[in-house]
Symmetry: C2
Subunit: 338 residues, 2 copies
DNA sequence: GCAGCGCTGGAAAGCGCTTTCCCGCCACGC
DNA sequence: GCGTGGCGGGAAAGCGCTTTCCAGCGCTGC
């Protein structure tokens, strides 16, 4: 039992070459090794079933093949799509993805980063949306610094200004364009189901939406805040229905929240879109088959993950790069003319 | 730039103790260290911002804090739910999850296992459904052996008989119970949208369903196979509609496939459930708000992930343990009396 | 013909940590 | 008084790999 792992030394001995040569053959150094030695080593390694010890390599090279990915909740399709993009790129590059989940607790983000630093991860993609909470922000900033000083790279999805590479979806612009599209449908009174007030993504989408309404000379919307989840959308919608709002169209800052909201509306007998139009944001693929089909702002989520991974893996210059990704308004059956 | 990482040696020197003592203090060995030395080390480590080098630890201890998780597609809510369960448990145990995706290519599973072995992962949860393909099966079995011989533990979700710990959902029983429930609604002619014929999960659910129909003395269903995805369900449903089948109720072996199927039906003007009843399997949380609500067999997916992680992390005996998880038939609006 | 160069192979010094020894010290028992 | 354990501390030997440095050798160029 527990047959000791085959080591490079054994391969070298068996093949009758030095450790150095074996290492050079099996792990592609710049140095040349003669044809026959090389082949002998390769064959022996194959025969013995040699698998290099990644920890030892990481230690010797002072860099590992780990890439971190930090999300709030992997069940949330928003994150799982991004995760798919990140893993695809990482795996193509021969790297391995470490998945960390925060459960939406901001302080977990810094903890995870520290763990990732311990593992000498060569890069990290931070996909969890940033909050405006002071304390956790500065703790996080410190961890990011420590991480980059150690030679690691960090990319964020969704928020700039951390001095890192960033993939920025057009939250503001998307919200604004959506508002415009909805006003063009004739709606005059709007409500917004917003996320927690300290979430940057939620704020941006809301701000953009308000700006769009203002463009059209329409009164600001009623805003009800709720958690950034299906249940948050449900609760917010319920609260909205309980109020005396006369809105004919509601914008949930997230598709997932919109799903919850639609459930609430259904429960209360409010028909969508006849009695109330509703729109979301993200265009989650898994949710595209819902009835009525949800109007939303499409974000290329997987692609965003790929871009983030790309940024973080290709060494790049010293300056923080920012890639903007546009959202595209998609009007479907959940929004009607008014 | 790139300030060298603080090492244990530096902490030890700074604190005026030996390397051994510092190690003992900071990484809890069995040995005692006197109060004042201990405190001095702790304080110095804190001041210097010491973070242990996980690779070095792994190398020295010959075991890492990595747990592997292998899925087909993290975007698929089935897998992301399981992933959530696994990560929760792993993180609570202070371990780190490595996410590998196969993209549904069976050979990737063995590759990933080999990578995980290189990283000396202490355990792996295989969530991707097993196929019946000979070649990849034996390659996988070999990798599993290699992995366990090296001291790692392996657990599977959904398939037994690999000599590993396993979480087995009641695919067969669930399919059977569902069939019974549907026949009780009065349906006499059934169709099944099955997965690829070599997927064990798909086969089991189908077999159970057939058995259930047989119990009720009903003719075997028409079976149309398709990919284990939304698009697979869509395509299979289209094929079914194109045939001369007179089925009044269709069972898609997966909720995700059922979603695709419902889209197909809608497109062809077939009303659910008036013209056709439809049921799925899994009860994916994200899909619970669809209209009409999908009848299905509920599986506690996150819990299954937790159980698998639990099995794989708690050393356990030598024997392969099997935990059975029952599916529960949930009839909703997508199935009507006939 | 010989200095010098480029190239390949090997010896060995780490990488940062854990852990086994070993040593000195103290309390104890006879 | 001295032998015995037990215990806390340190020196040092690895863990498996990479990489520098050096040795040897066959060539080229003057």
């Amino acid at each position: 039992m527990s047959a000791r792992q085959v080591t490079l030394a054994e391969v070298a001995k068996q093949a009758g070459v030095s450790l150095a040569t074996a290492s050079r053959v099996l792990n592609g150094s710049t140095r040349q090794v003669s044809e026959d030695l090389s082949e002998r080593v390769l064959r022996t390694a194959e025969e013995l079933g040699y698998v290099p010890n990644a920890s030892a390599q990481a230690l010797a090279r002072n860099s590992s093949s780990l890439v971190g990915l930090v999300v709030h909740d992997i069940t949330d399709p928003y994150f799982s799509c991004i995760a798919a993009g990140v893993t695809r790129v990482a795996e193509e590059a021969g790297l391995v993805v470490v998945l960390g989940t925060t459960g939406r607790r901001p302080e977990r983000e810094a903890e995870l980063l520290s763990t990732l630093r311990a593992h000498r991860a060569r890069a990290v993609v931070l996909a969890g949306s940033r909050t405006t909470d002071r304390a956790s922000q500065s703790r996080l900033a410190a961890e990011i610094d420590a991480f980059t000083e150690q030679g690691g790279r960090v990319a964020c999805v969704s928020q700039a200004k951390l001095g890192t590479d960033t993939v920025v979806p057009g939250n503001r612009a998307g919200g604004r364009a959506l508002a415009r599209a909805l006003t063009e449908l004739g709606h005059k009174k709007f409500a917004v189901l917003g996320g927690p007030s300290d979430l940057v993504v939620a704020r941006d989408r809301l701000a953009g939406f308000k700006a769009g309404l203002a463009d059209a000379g329409i009164a600001p919307p009623v805003v009800v805040n709720g958690a950034f989840t299906r249940d948050g959308g449900y609760a917010a919608a319920m609260e909205l229905l309980g109020s005396k709002s006369r809105a004919t169209c509601v914008f949930a800052v997230t598709d997932v929240m919109a799903m919850g909201a639609m459930a609430a509306l259904r429960e209360r007998g409010v028909r969508v879109p006849e009695d109330m139009s509703i729109a979301g944001f993200d265009d989650i693929p898994t949710l595209r088959d819902t009835v009525p089909a949800l109007s939303t702002v499409r974000l290329p989520l997987e692609e965003m993950g790929e871009i983030a991974a790309g940024l973080v893996l290709d060494a790049g210059g010293d300056e923080a790069r920012t890639v903007r990704v546009a959202g595209e308004v998609v009007l479907r059956a959940s929004t009607a003319h008014n």
